[in-house]
């Protein structure tokens, strides 16, 4: 009797263990199911590289290049801001900060990770957007730059915590060896710690970027959402994620527009999959 | 009477050949001491007897081990471990009260009757010479006991499930001489009812309590004989070297 009960429980555990694989597959499957239909009307090439996104005109123009470039521009901007600051902060926390301050800083960064993106978007709207508008004397502050700054900020918790982990797990002997040779603390960090932790830091940066590409609400609220190919970082842009979020409400289930938005979902899924698998392999390399 | 019979036992962990071609017997109601330097395979040998090695993913074994003439592979794992109890190197109380520690095994075997549990707890604690020290504080956390008391609690916990064989894995390595003496006293008394296998790094301890002593080296059984004989007239040069402290 007990044996039977345990047999059932253990099978249940196995099934739940496999649930993650099942759900990832299920997500991909349903994106494909709804998204692939768009390629009956648009070729993959035209979808990815078409320059106009007018999903409700007749006939609909479903080129997502402006959206890809919008996402890319914001992501590059966010990466330029967040990588040096995030890695710098990670070094400060891992190597320089006194123990008590270290705990406070880590708590502060955990706090940032916890703030809902819609709250950050709201704050961005009322503080950052007017600031950008006035600073550059623009007709609107809803620009790619505002989005980049906000997203850089949102990528920080990921970058800082993973990079700090990577620095922390560099064997102590490396550091002691460098000190024994008379290197200063900074020389040790620069020449020994950073190279030794490089694959972990790379993973941190990649996962931070993954977070940026996938971010939706804050971006939608502060980038202006103009689906045109951006020529400057001070112009409004629209990202892949914001397009889905903003338009799915209006798209009729089973329409071309609906399929196209799912096809964008496939693109996002593939990008995040690629980033996560690569970052994971970097982290794995570090452990060995 | 023969308790354990071991034929051509080999154990590997991955590619490491930890136990090599061991043949031996363990008699009922004896204390068998197993001595040898670090990494000689003595703990692996011990953990094979209650199949605790099976927890290791890389574990592989061949040969035959019989308990009361039945292959241990054919004995239900939980029943085998109930029959062959174990006391670990460090005192390892579970994060429970003293009482709950002692009756943990009984409860896992389905005994729920409070009176039965209380009786078995008292008996076992007495057998482990701990009753007098803890009888008024059974509901306190086991972590509040001293190291020596904790180790005797672990012995009582093993006794509570009424095993036939008790394996001791360097049970005194973390204890002071007085606590060690108490544990050794308990062991000598226990042999009237149980079969004891004692792995120890302390050659003198083996000499004090063992009826027979086995000497392991690099996974091989070098010599097994009456303890007096091993310590006074060993057959093998290596045994002689080890007990005189030449290596290990």
């Amino acid at each position: 009797m007990r044996k039977l009960k345990e047999f059932i429980v253990e099978k249940l555990i196995l099934i739940c263990g496999l649930a993650s694989i099942f759900f990832v597959a299920l997500i991909f499957l349903f994106l494909l199911k709804e998204g692939l239909a768009v390629f009956k009307t648009v070729s993959l090439f035209k979808f990815l590289f078409g320059k106009s996104w007018y999903p409700i005109s007749e006939p609909a123009q479903l080129g997502i290049l402006p959206l890809i470039l919008g996402s890319l521009l914001i992501t590059v901007g966010a990466a330029i801001i967040s990588i040096p600051i995030g890695v710098g902060c990670a070094i400060y926390i891992a190597e320089i900060a006194p123990l008590k301050i270290k705990e406070t800083l880590k708590a502060g960064i955990e706090l940032l990770a916890a703030i809902p993106s819609v709250v950050l978007g709201f704050i961005g709207m009322v503080t950052l957007v007017p600031l950008v508008k006035n600073l550059f004397n623009l007709p609107t502050g809803l620009t790619a730059l505002s989005g980049s700054i906000m997203l850089a900020f949102m990528a920080m918790p990921t970058i800082v915590s993973i990079a700090e982990d990577a620095l922390y797990s560099v064997p102590k002997t490396y550091k002691e060896g460098a000190f024994a040779l008379g290197a200063t603390h900074w020389q040790t960090i620069w020449r020994v710690m950073l190279p030794a932790a490089s694959s972990g830091i790379l993973a941190a940066v990649m996962l931070g970027i993954g977070r940026v590409i996938g971010e939706t609400m804050a971006v939608m609220m502060i980038t202006g959402n103009a689906a045109v190919i951006p020529h400057t970082i001070l112009a409004p842009v629209r990202t892949l994620t914001a397009t889905i979020a903003a338009e799915m409400g209006e798209a009729v289930v089973g329409s071309e527009h609906y399929f196209a938005l799912f096809a964008i979902g496939i693109v996002l899924f593939v990008i995040s999959f690629a980033i996560n698998v690569t970052a994971d392999s970097f982290l794995h390399k570090r452990q060995q | 009477m023969v308790k354990f019979e071991i034929h051509d036992l080999n154990i590997w962990f991955g590619s490491v050949h930890a136990i090599k071609h061991i043949n031996m017997e363990i008699q009922s109601n004896e204390i068998l001491s197993v001595i040898g330097p670090a990494n000689s395979g003595k703990t692996t040998f011990l953990r094979m007897l209650n199949r605790l090695n099976d927890l290791n993913q890389n574990f592989k074994m061949n040969g035959e081990v019989r308990l009361d003439n039945e292959d241990i592979k054919n004995i239900d794992m939980e029943l085998l471990r109930k029959r062959v109890g174990m006391v670990f190197a460090l005192p390892l109380p579970l994060p429970l009260s003293i009482f709950d520690n002692v009756v943990y095994g009984l409860r896992m075997h389905g005994i729920k009757n409070k009176k039965v549990l209380e009786e078995r707890a008292e008996e076992s604690l007495k057998e482990a010479y701990l009753w007098e020290e803890v009888k008024d504080r059974l509901s306190e956390s086991a972590f509040k006991l001293s190291g020596g008391q904790q180790q005797r609690l672990c012995i009582a916990r093993t006794l509570a499930v009424e095993p036939e064989v008790i394996l001791f894995d360097e049970p005194c390595s973390g204890l002071d001489p007085i606590s060690t003496a108490k544990v050794e006293d308990a062991m000598v008394k226990l042999k009237e009812k149980y079969t004891l296998v004692l792995v120890t790094n302390n050659v003198k301890q083996a000499a004090r309590v063992g009826d027979r002593t086995a000497f392991f080296l690099s996974g091989e059984l070098i010599e097994l004989d009456k303890t007096d004989k091993i310590f006074t007239a060993p057959q093998d040069k290596r045994t002689d070297g080890y007990i005189r402290g030449k290596f290990g």
Binding site: E10, I15, C16, V24, L111, V119, E215 | Q57, L92, L94
Partner: protein, 282 residues
Amino acid sequence: MKNPYRTQNIAFFFLFLATLLIVVPVGLIIVIIIQKGLPAINWQFLSDIPRQGMRAGGIFPAIVGTVYLVTGAIILALPIGLLAAIYLSEYSKDNLLNRLIKLAIVNLAGVPSVVYGLFGLALFVVFFKFGASILSGSLTLGIMILPVIITTSREALESVPQSFREVSLSLGASKWQTIRHIVLPNAIPGILTGTILGLGRAAGETAPILFTVAAFYLPRLPNSIFDQAMALPYHLYVISTQVPNVAEKIRYGTAFVLLALVLIMNLVAIIIRYKFRKRKKW
């Protein structure tokens, strides 16, 4: 020749600056929201339905909606997540399958939240015909927080010393008995921490509920799990961007309630973790 100590001082200054650039805005955001949001909070704001096209009244239906969604999400995610964590920590062997599961978890955690929204729409709303409802939204959020719960629970389970397992098994307990009586009770604080973090995450997310549950304006409480509902994060989005002329006080008040809810959950999680670490006996 360059003085290495001067270089060091300059470098450390910049590292400190980088840290300030992150920490100061975090502090500012919280201060601003408290300063401007707290005055908006009163009993009426918390307990009234929104009125005059969300330009007046309270946010009660949004609070209730979020509570329903979060509860539903945890009912799905906790049992599956916990059992999955038990599988990884106690049963899985170091093989390809184990590696695949871990990779799947990493990916599940990395899927953009709006893609979860699409998935929920396609599977629950359209395929299972649950419609835009609390049920669809809860299931979507539940799958989204699964990786949080699996990862934290697994860490909690793995931090229970291996020796406890060996002791229990050596006394003849079965593997499941060992998990049930020794491993789980000692991992509960960690599991609780993960659960609360998952709740906080579910409470704050907007994109996954956009097309699966959220009602733009529904000034009543939901009737059943098949009903639509308002939710705090979506409500904040709506009154910030979709409805003109909403008083600043209402926006900040809503942001304050949402932030307070999420941060309190995180704080509770941190306190549990901290107390547990202090109390640990091994």
